[in-house]
């Protein structure tokens, strides 16, 4: 087992009086794919956003690729440095609306990573090639369909070659056909050295594609393990109820 690329210890986060994350621990190894499941409001998206400081956690420690930060007193400089080891794919794509597809991908490279322009363009085109969007590199986001925008969103994240790639419900805004396309695309990244953490409601995808599945409820991790264990034999009653419908549907396929 290689060393963890991302380690979270005892992460807490409150919004006002509501404590939404109540002590989360997590280790993710390079190349690993982790699926984060749970009902809406369980804190999984907030947790993901704490990992790149889009939300500031109240306490705990976070280590990414060798850099450790105490979340209580994270400095601007540390936050920026940690962020630059990560990349994120958003539910609603979040492409820069004032920039072309190519500029969307090169932006983080040239501005945040200091990659020379020519080199950034080469890397960006390679990423766009990988997601099948190189032909649209001069288009603006509003000229693209949702599925195409999400491909660009993924290319933008890939081009940064992050140590940890965060997906926040990457398929929730897409129609069923496009969902499959995007999931296939994410599946194709499985053998890259980047660690992938995916917040999703796509149970089948989590079952087939994740190395490890985490079930969250009310700000805590209730269950964690290999997909076949979590889906096949959930230890916790809450997990069982959440997965019930899915496992009932899929039972013949997976569990006999």
């Amino acid at each position: 087992m290689s060393e963890a690329v991302l380690t979270v210890r005892n992460l807490h986060k409150s919004f006002g009086k509501a404590e939404v994350l109540r002590g989360i621990d997590l280790e993710v190894r390079p190349g690993e794919t982790v699926a984060l499941l749970g009902s809406s409001g369980c804190g999984k998206t907030t947790f993901l956003r704490c990992l790149n400081f889009l939300e500031k956690a109240d306490s705990g420690t976070l280590a990414i690729a060798g850099q450790t930060v105490h979340l209580q007193r994270a400095h601007k400089k540390d936050i920026l440095a940690l962020r630059r080891k990560t990349a994120m794919v958003f539910q609603d794509y979040g492409l820069y609306r004032n920039k072309t597809v190519l500029q969307n991908v090169t932006e983080g490279l040239t501005v945040a990573r200091g990659v020379p322009k020519a080199q950034a363009v080469t890397r960006a085109l390679k990423s766009l090639e990988q997601v099948g969007m190189a032909a649209r590199s001069e288009a603006y986001p509003h000229e693209l369909s949702g599925g195409q925008q999400q491909r660009v969103g993924i290319a933008r994240a890939l081009a940064l070659e992050p140590a940890v790639l965060l997906f926040d419900e990457p398929t929730s805004a897409l129609d069923p056909e496009k969902v499959q396309e995007i999931l296939d695309l994410i599946r194709s990244l499985k053998d890259t050295p980047t660690a992938k953490i995916i917040v999703t409601h796509e149970m089948a995808f989590a079952y087939e594609c994740a190395d490890s599945v985490i079930f969250m409820d009310e700000g805590l991790i209730l269950e964690e393990g290999a997909p076949k264990d979590v889906f096949g034999n959930p230890k916790n009653e809450r997990t069982r109820r959440f997965l019930e419908r899915f496992t009932a549907d899929k039972a013949p396929e997976y569990f006999i």
Binding site: T86, A87, F90, G94, Y96, E107, G108, A112, Y140
Partner: protein, 227 residues
């Protein structure tokens, strides 16, 4: 009797003063935009002290007539600065007018800019931060370029208002288009015609400025169609 032919004779004379009016509006717009941006940023970023100071200043500037502000700046500012040993009593009148109009415009520009920045979806901030951009880089490269097209109609309205308000500068004896119209009218006893000629100039300026902002707004939007 009203004799329209005087309008034509007055027009060239008034146009000689057009540079004064345009200079005033130009300086106020340039300085006002810069100041307005700073005020807006102070409030958006909730900078301690500066944010509160901006809020108070803006509400004063938007809540009092520009004429009052002009007198405050013209008579009050020298006294205030004298108190700390700076003598500006000898400054040219026009400087005080520039300061007044720049401040006045900055308040309206600031609110226009602030509203436009707030209208950019929060996700754009997320996306910029997630790619590792700093706050400043996010503003410069992602947020402000998207806020600009949103702000253009409001900036245009402020500009048009400024154009009309500039005519009050003659109360301090500035010979802009309006000041010139007043003196011409008094000199020839054709005040009505003189003001009518001034009105023609202001209407044309306003139409030109509206057309300019309209085109600017449209060409920007085409590229960045806001969803």
């Amino acid at each position: 009797m009203f004799d329209a032919s005087y309008i034509l004779t007055f027009l060239p004379k008034l146009l000689e003063s057009l540079p004064v009016t345009l200079g005033l509006v130009g300086v106020a717009t340039a300085a006002g935009l810069l100041l307005g941006l700073l005020f807006a940023l102070a409030r958006l970023e909730k900078l301690p002290v500066l944010a509160e100071a901006s809020t108070v200043l803006i509400s004063f500037l938007r809540g009092t007539p520009v004429l009052v502000q002009m007198f405050v700046v013209y008579y009050g500012l020298p006294l205030l600065l004298q108190g700390i040993g700076i003598d500006i009593l000898r400054w040219d009148k026009i400087i005080f007018i520039y300061i007044t109009y720049a401040l006045n415009a900055s308040a309206y520009f600031s609110e226009g800019i602030r509203a436009a920045v707030l209208a950019v979806p929060a996700r754009q901030w997320d996306a910029a931060a997630a790619c590792g951009l700093t706050k400043g880089q996010s503003y410069r490269r992602v947020i402000l370029p998207q806020a600009l097209p949103i702000a253009i109609p409001s900036l245009g309205m402020t500009f048009t208002g400024l154009l009309q308000d500039s005519s009050l500068a003659f109360s301090l004896g500035i010979l802009d288009v309006m000041g010139r119209a007043k003196t011409l009218g008094a000199l020839t006893s054709r005040a009505l015609e003189a003001y009518a000629a001034a009105a023609v100039i202001f209407i044309i300026l306003t139409l030109l400025s509206n057309a300019g902002f309209h085109t600017a707004g449209r060409s920007r939007k085409r590229k960045e169609a806001l969803t």
